[in-house]
């Protein structure tokens, strides 16, 4: 995380190719993990629920970034792939009685299959046209799930899931749910970091940057485009399945087109082509509306307005500020929060003796 290369000499390729080649970066990353693990000691239940939401969004955003940021295939169907994971997890839990830790990979796997299928148009079309094709995927999946009682469990399209348990431990409050979500998020993060720095990830980037050149050096772009859809949808499916176990309910309304768009917003604001950026974006988009509630309400109280009298106005004001802030961020740093973080790191690289 922190760059202080001074005095570090790599003498092996293993060392040079490590995820965090610098000792200081390793320690600071470890410190972040420790802090994350200790958060429940200091935060109240409401704050823990926010942390959970951020982690859930991070998993989905990392998945979408692998597809859009790294492989360059725009997708508006991410919400639908999460929906597939969500209902799969609910069904295997309710019908087959599988525990949540088997439901997660099941949700991911089924979503990966569906995602790869809806990725087939990417072999022919690119860019905005592909976005429209995946948009069709979003609606088709939504419609199919809604209109198949076998999948969605009836008119409300809602499946209730029993409280997940792990080795006899009931995951029934925000603190316990945090420890259900956090390990999955960490594994998802590390796996994505490893993926993008090794053979498959390089092939993804090659497909994004120069598809003709990629083919010439032996990268089968059809294979890697579908693979990117599958991996990305696996992440989406896992995230969707976690939502199901988190809310103890599977409902299509959590995974509509608006969800797809907000995940796109996360990775654009966080930084396309960056795993850490996806997390930044997920945190930003999850927190901003909630922070704005406090800010706007606090501001209203400060000026002596009664909240109930201007509730409508405040709700709209919040949306306006939300949109405005996103535009502002993109105008200041089009490459996203990850780039801002990089600039801060660069500043401190030689601090306090920078020249």
């Amino acid at each position: 995380m922190i760059n202080r290369e001074c005095g570090v000499y790599q003498t092996t390729y293993e060392g040079d190719m490590a995820l965090y080649p610098l000792p200081l970066a390793r320690y600071s990353t470890l410190a972040v993990v420790v802090v994350l693990a200790l958060l429940p000691l200091v935060l109240d239940s409401h704050m823990m629920s926010l942390a959970n939401l951020m982690l859930l969004a991070s998993i989905g955003a990392i998945g979408l970034n692998i597809l859009v940021g790294y492989t360059g295939q725009v997708s508006l169907g991410h919400g639908a792939f999460m929906m597939v994971g969500s209902y799969t997890a609910a069904l295997v839990t309710v019908r087959l009685g599988l525990p949540f830790w088997l439901g997660l990979p099941a949700g991911g796997a089924v979503a990966a299959l569906v995602g790869a299928f809806f990725g087939i148009p990417s072999l022919r079309i690119k860019g905005l046209y592909l976005a429209i094709a995946t948009l069709a995927g979003q609606f088709i999946i939504e419609w199919v799930i809604n209109h198949s009682p076998w999948i969605s469990g009836g008119v409300q399209s809602t499946i209730y899931v029993p409280t997940p348990t792990f080795l006899g431990w009931n995951i029934n409050n925000e603190y316990r749910r945090y420890f259900m979500v956090l390990p999955v998020a960490i594994v998802a993060y590390v796996a994505a970091m490893n993926l993008v720095r090794s053979r498959v990830g390089r092939a993804f980037i090659a497909v994004r940057d120069r598809d003709v050149a990629a083919e010439i050096i032996g990268v089968d772009i059809f294979h890697y485009k579908l693979l990117a859809f599958a991996v990305s949808s696996f992440y989406a499916g896992m995230a969707g399945a976690l939502w199901t176990y988190y809310l103890k309910i599977a409902n299509y309304e959590h995974f509509t087109l608006a969800t797809s768009v907000s995940y796109l917003a996360m990775i654009i604001i966080g930084g396309l082509g960056s795993v850490l950026g996806s997390v930044f974006g997920a945190v930003f988009i999850t927190l901003l509306p909630i922070v704005l509630v406090y800010v706007v309400e606090g501001g209203a109280a400060l000026f002596g307005f009664k909240y109930a009298a201007i509730a409508d106005f405040l709700a709209n004001l919040r949306l306006i500020i939300f949109g405005g802030l996103i535009i502002l961020f993109l105008a200041i740093e089009p490459e996203g929060l990850f780039r801002m973080w990089g600039n801060v790191k660069r500043y401190f690289r030689l601090w306090p003796y920078s020249y």
Partner: protein, 257 residues
């Protein structure tokens, strides 16, 4: 002696334009063959046919006795054909090392799970191929820029990195499309030296498109001349230089008033 690469009556047209028409020639193992000709003669199209970017309408391309005419480009690459492009086609956001590692793609086996795990066999494979890449970095004298994103490098160095990426494939046949185009005198000399060294050390067959006649005549063993899509001459540099058709294509004929 059987040829390593045979081009048999290859034709390719775009709409009404006959870019390459019925070109045939053989390439021997380990030789440096130059393709020259005026702009629009069909040199790059011919190279694109050999590396399967385009599939010719008629004719066949045979590599080591195996027809590659209709194969997909990645399959041709796996059979040992690597190339560089006239307008550099590197992956601009990636570092020099990563670009060269992509050159190792066909020799690696890591799939999604091994890549995500990056431990044990997956990691060992990455490290082993990094060593191969470092040998090439060493050979091309680009150690100092190995961690730089290629987009930030000057043009001449990008040309060199692109050669490195092609070399990373350990190709049997190396196709170079104007490796010296747009570079200065020193860079040209460096590039000529690398081409000769590659040919010398690894015995790689090299097919070269180049406009600089000095370089072409110096380093190639044989020269093929294309004009308007057709082969008009073939032979050693000295023979080609003396061919009347070549003089006509390059210099034109004496004006008659």
């Amino acid at each position: 002696m059987t040829a390593q690469l045979e081009i048999r009556g290859v034709s390719k047209s775009f709409g009404g334009v006959q870019a390459v028409s019925r070109v045939s020639f053989d390439v021997q193992q380990g030789e440096i063959l130059s393709i020259i000709g005026p702009n629009g003669a069909g040199k790059t199209t011919l190279l694109n046919c050999i590396s399967s970017v385009f599939h010719p309408e008629t004719g066949a391309i045979v590599l080591d006795g195996r027809e590659t005419t209709r194969l997909a480009p990645p399959r041709v690459a796996a059979l040992g054909v690597a190339r560089t492009f006239q307008n550099i086609a590197l992956f601009r956001g990636m570092t020099v090392v990563d670009n060269l590692m992509l050159g190792r793609h066909i020799h690696m086996k890591n799939g999604v799970f091994r890549s995500m795990l990056y431990w044990g066999p997956g990691r060992r494979e990455e490290v082993a191929h990094r060593q191969v890449v470092e040998d090439i970095i060493d050979f091309l004298e680009i150690e100092a820029i190995r961690k730089r994103p290629v987009g930030s490098l000057p043009y001449g160095l990008q040309k060199r990195v692109e050669l490195g990426r092609a070399l990373a494939l350990h190709p049997k046949v190396l196709l170079l499309d104007e490796p010296m185009g747009g570079t200065n005198h020193e860079e040209k000399e460096d590039m000529a030296r690398f081409i000769l060294d590659v040919n010398d050390e690894w015995g790689t067959t090299i097919i070269l498109i180049e406009h600089d006649m000095g370089v072409v005549m110096d380093i190639s063993q044989r020269v093929i001349v294309l004009d308007l899509g057709a082969k008009i001459a073939e032979g050693t540099p000295a023979e080609v230089k003396a061919t009347p058709q070549v003089i006509k294509a390059y210099l034109g004929t004496k004006a008659t008033v």
